[in-house]
């Protein structure tokens, strides 16, 4: 008997079986499974993944899917691992029930069984449901077996965002081996040639494919006999959404999918791309196919990544994006998407690698440092997302706002906040003493907090597009946008600022984007935090204070959410003042391997963010979870209440004979618990043509729809439960009544 909920899957499985070309099974040796994973889960669909080999041959396997973890009544579907995809297999399951936990496993011809995976489908977009998810990134083999990952299954997440750098290309040698060459003795991938000196002796496509596939496989293997199988249990524990960053793409010019290849140099076998020191390469305006994302090297690396991640590959109709007017994007795989998780949360997965312009380097022979200064980095045409994706992202956010979706989470692989001065670096002083050989007074130190925004970051090298995106969010009053990022190997929370006037190089023109902040988390296991060996609160505080002092000197908004509207219940380990007087350190953890857990309340009113971590451990130390008493704990947590939508009430029209005007009272009320950021204005859309607003403050320009008269009710914030009123005066119509549609506008930018 087939489980009623899974009947459609069974039907699809029959079709899929035909597609996979099932044939009489040959005699098989035992099939071995590397692991399982599920991902790109919607309310009715999921991708499930495995890698299974039978003596290095493709394996025929059967998927079992059930809502019962004992698989008492599983639906089944057959598939064959693909030798051309390193013996991996992905199945696209459709017809699933929303908000349902499913268990799955793969079974070989001789009843060999994979580990059991689990995923939960998203609630229907109309369902008010709590959302519980986590994210991190940056898994460098140097830190295998990623001890902290062992704690993620117990979180019982709705989903996890595997946010970039899910493998590293460099060597790792953990010392404790399970074989030679085993997962511990892992050499670097074959290099592809260095920038800015392209090598003609780079890797072949076959080397590229083989070396990177091996790096992905190693993430599922132990480094100690009897120890944790790397990320195997973590991958199986919940549905995952995955992004790639520079390390999946070779960490050379392939990280710039929108950069010009300059011809055949885009291929690994013959070079590494165009010279990033030359300003003519800053923006790729090709109308043809000279984009790195069209090169075989890029596509090879992207495909290896896709082979090993539970990612839906045919999201675009026809397999690739059809955007002839945007050659940068045309005919590429669509890896960006948005997924509602019930009524109150929207998860947005961005692809900010496939379309970005080149990471620019300073001019000069042999100079490879990032160029983040004007004029090159200010080039308004530089893009990280590409025109098609940027327009999609903006529209997706606007649609969510209009639909009443309380929280919008945007996962980007590079941080979008600002740390250092534009085009420069902070001068840090007062650094603490920690570890060995450290001078804490600004002298040589093995570690300093991140003090600049590199050329990889939004504000470092793509700030015009960053500004346009944040301005769009502010101008359209899209609230509760939370950007999720990793890559900086520290955990920090930050408000986001932008220039309403578009003067991206003028720091003084920057203001806060209302109700928008970013969470930078990670690494799950990578270098940087390991250089801090004193894990006391005092050291973290000194590092944070050093950073904040330098930011204030530079006129940069300091890290943290102090003063953020709706912030409450701030808790930081070893800081009893956090709840009363939150400081930067309460939103900062530089010395841990970590992930952040985010919870949206069922009513959508409150977001809780928790940073969970362990003290960072040394490279190649192969520490298992709990070794040396190093267990996971909550480093910090806080809550943010969502602002209520401002409520507008109107009185009727009254003819004021003294003024010879019609008057009308308009009142804006804040029914929420979070102050509404002022000024508070009301625009009158669709004002009838028989009149005009006689005492208006102006006409909307930035706030769509443009051209509507507006009046300013107050210049300050509107507190919780507060209201503010004004009298509208209208010219007396010759005939007919007056009509309009009022619209509240909050925030400091020009409406």
């Amino acid at each position: 008997m087939t489980h009623p909920k899974l009947s459609r899957i069974v039907r699809l499985s029959l079709l899929a079986a035909a597609g996979f070309g099932l044939s009489a099974l040959p005699a098989y040796a035992a099939v071995s499974f590397l692991g399982v994973a599920a991902g790109d889960v919607s309310s009715d669909e999921a991708i499930v993944w495995t890698r299974a080999v039978d003596a290095s041959a493709a394996a025929n396997v059967t998927l079992q899917l059930d809502t019962d973890p004992a698989f008492s009544n599983p639906a089944t579907r057959s598939g064959t691992t693909d030798a051309n995809k390193d013996y991996t297999l992905k199945l696209d399951l459709t017809g699933l029930q929303p908000a349902t936990v499913y268990y799955y496993r793969f079974v070989g011809p001789s009843s060999e069984t994979s580990s059991v995976g689990k995923f939960k489908t998203a609630p229907a977009p109309t369902t008010a449901a709590p959302v519980h998810f986590a994210f991190s990134g940056d898994m460098d083999g140097l830190m295998r077996p990623y001890a902290l990952a062992a704690t993620i299954p117990a979180q019982n997440l709705d989903f996890y965002v595997n946010l970039g750098d899910v493998i590293y290309e460099n060597a790792s040698n953990a010392g404790v081996t399970t074989g030679t060459p085993g997962p511990n003795n892992s050499p670097s991938v074959t290099l592809s040639g260095n920038i800015p000196a392209p090598s003609s002796t780079g890797a072949t496509q076959a080397q590229l494919y083989g070396d990177y596939s091996k790096k992905y496989r190693e993430q599922f293997l132990p480094v100690n006999n009897g120890g944790q199988f790397g990320l195997k249990t973590f991958y199986a524990a919940q549905g995952n959404y995955t992004l790639y960053d520079n390390h999946e793409l070779g960490n050379k010019q392939y990280i710039n999918g929108g950069a010009p290849t300059g011809g055949a140099v885009g291929d690994m076998s013959s070079g590494a791309g165009v010279d990033a020191r030359v300003s003519t390469n800053d923006v790729n305006s090709s109308t043809g196919s000279d984009y790195m994302n069209k090169s075989t090297g890029f596509q090879t690396l992207q495909q290896v990544y896709l082979n090993y991640q539970p990612i839906k590959e045919n999201r675009a109709a026809g397999g690739t994006i059809n955007a002839p007017s945007d050659p940068r994007t045309h005919n590429t795989k669509q890896l960006y998407f948005a997924q509602p998780w019930g009524k109150n949360a929207l998860y947005i997965n961005v692809d900010d690698r496939a379309y970005r312009d080149i990471r620019i380097k300073k001019a000069g022979s042999g100079n490879t440092a990032d160029e983040t200064a004007a004029p090159r980095a200010n080039n308004a045409s530089r893009t990280m997302l590409g025109a098609t994706q940027l327009a999609w992202l903006e529209q997706t956010l606007l649609d969510a706002q209009n639909a009443g979706t309380a929280w919008k989470f945007v996962a980007v692989s590079d941080p979008i906040d600002q740390i250092g001065p534009i085009g420069g670096s902070l001068t840090l002083t007062g650094l603490p003493n920690f570890g060995s050989g450290v001078d804490g007074n600004g002298n040589a130190s093995p570690y300093g907090p991140v003090n600049s925004d590199g050329g990889k970051s939004w504000i470092g090298g793509y700030r015009a597009e960053r500004n346009a995106l944040l301005k769009f969010i502010a101008d359209h009053q899209i609230t509760n946008v939370v950007f999720l990022a990793t890559d900086d190997h520290q955990n920090r929370i930050n408000e986001l600022t932008y220039s309403p006037t578009g003067q991206t190089e003028v720091q003084s023109s920057y203001v806060k984007a209302p109700y928008v902040f970013s969470v930078v988390a990670g690494p799950l296991g990578a270098t940087g935090p390991d250089l801090i060996t004193n894990h006391t609160f005092a050291v973290a505080q000194q590092l944070a204070n050093s950073l904040v002092n330098a930011q204030q000197t530079a006129g940069v908004e300091p890290i943290g959410l102090q003063g953020y509207p709706g912030l409450k219940n701030v808790v930081r380990e070893n800081d009893p003042a956090a709840g009363v007087n939150p400081a930067a350190v309460d939103f900062y953890s530089p010395d841990t391997f970590n992930y952040n857990v985010l919870d949206v309340s069922a009513d959508g009113k409150t977001l809780t963010v928790s940073g969970v971590g362990v003290n960072a451990t040394p490279q190649n130390s192969a520490k298992e979870y709990g070794a040396d008493g190093n267990t996971a704990r909550t480093i910090f947590s806080f809550q943010v209440d969502a602002p209520a939508k401002p409520a507008i009430s109107l009185s009727g029209y009254v003819l004021n004979r003294g003024l010879n005007k019609f008057t009308q009272q308009v009142t804006v009320t804040n029914h929420g618990t979070v102050p509404l950021i002022g000024p508070i204005r009301v625009a009158l859309d669709n004002l009838s043509g028989n009149t005009a607003l006689a005492n208006g403050s102006g006409v909307t320009i930035n706030n769509a729809p443009a051209g509507s008269p507006y009046i300013t009710l107050s210049t300050g914030n509107l507190p919780a439960a507060g209201s503010v009123s004004a009298t509208l005066q209208f010219n007396k119509p010759a005939s007919g009544s007056i009509s309009h549609t009022p619209r509240a506008i909050t925030g400091s930018m020009a409406p």
Partner: protein, 211 residues
């Protein structure tokens, strides 16, 4: 038409109005300090407006039971604009004809009038986003509004009803810095006011038929 038929129509009409909650009743009283007549640009006019907010559902207002103390309405000083009719000596009716920018009635009253009271019955059909508006004001001899303190929301109305609001009706007291004009209103629960006689009428009608 027989008395039985009239009773039936009345009862049905009242019940219909009450069941949908489409009526509101107020008693309005205006006190005027006679000393003010030395400072105001008298004679004064009592002004009523019923203006459409542009919504699809119509409303109406009926004002009656006028009472004047120390003076009275001045005949032949009526100005009517839009869908209005009546006289302060009997009753005034206004409708929110949306083809007119405003529907207004005003009529003068004698200097020395110290108190005016009347009853207002409005329908209460809510229109969004802008409600229909019923307003009462005093005009001076130049037909300009007596200006109220800035604390009064619209600066000119002694009494307004944004029809359909959950908390309709408001009044404002005082003219400038002078103590002089005080307005009070007593809203009555329209549902009870209409529902009770409606039900009673139908019951009576039913009993008569049964008999």
């Amino acid at each position: 038409m027989t008395s039985k038929t009239l009773l039936k129509l009345l009862a049905a009409g009242l019940l219909l109005a009450s069941e949908s909650g489409h009526a509101a009743y107020y008693h309005v009283a205006i006190q005027i300090d006679p000393a003010l007549y030395g400072t105001l640009n008298a004679p004064l006019f009592l002004d009523f407006q019923l203006n459409s907010g542009g919504g699809a559902v119509a409303n109406s207002a009926t004002i009656d039971h006028f009472s004047f103390t120390g003076g009275g309405a001045t005949p032949n000083t009526i100005t009517a604009s839009g869908a209005v009719s009546g006289d302060l000596s009997s009753s005034v009716a206004l409708a929110d004809d949306a083809t007119n920018p405003y529907n207004e009635f005003f009529q003068g009253f004698a200097n020395g009038t110290t108190a005016i009271s009347f009853d207002v019955l409005t329908t209460s059909n809510a229109n969004a986003p802008t409600p229909d508006s019923f307003a009462v004001a005093l005009l001076d001899s130049s037909l300009g509004n007596l200006q109220l303190p800035s604390s009064a929301p619209d600066g000119v109305s002694l009494f307004t009803v944004s029809i359909g609001d959950s908390n309709p009706g408001s009044s404002y007291a005082g003219v400038g810095s002078a103590s002089g004009i005080t307005t009070s209103f007593v809203p009555s629960p329209a549902t009870l006011w209409l529902f009770a006689p409606g039900l009673a009428g139908l019951r009576l009608f039913g009993k008569r038929r049964a008999a």
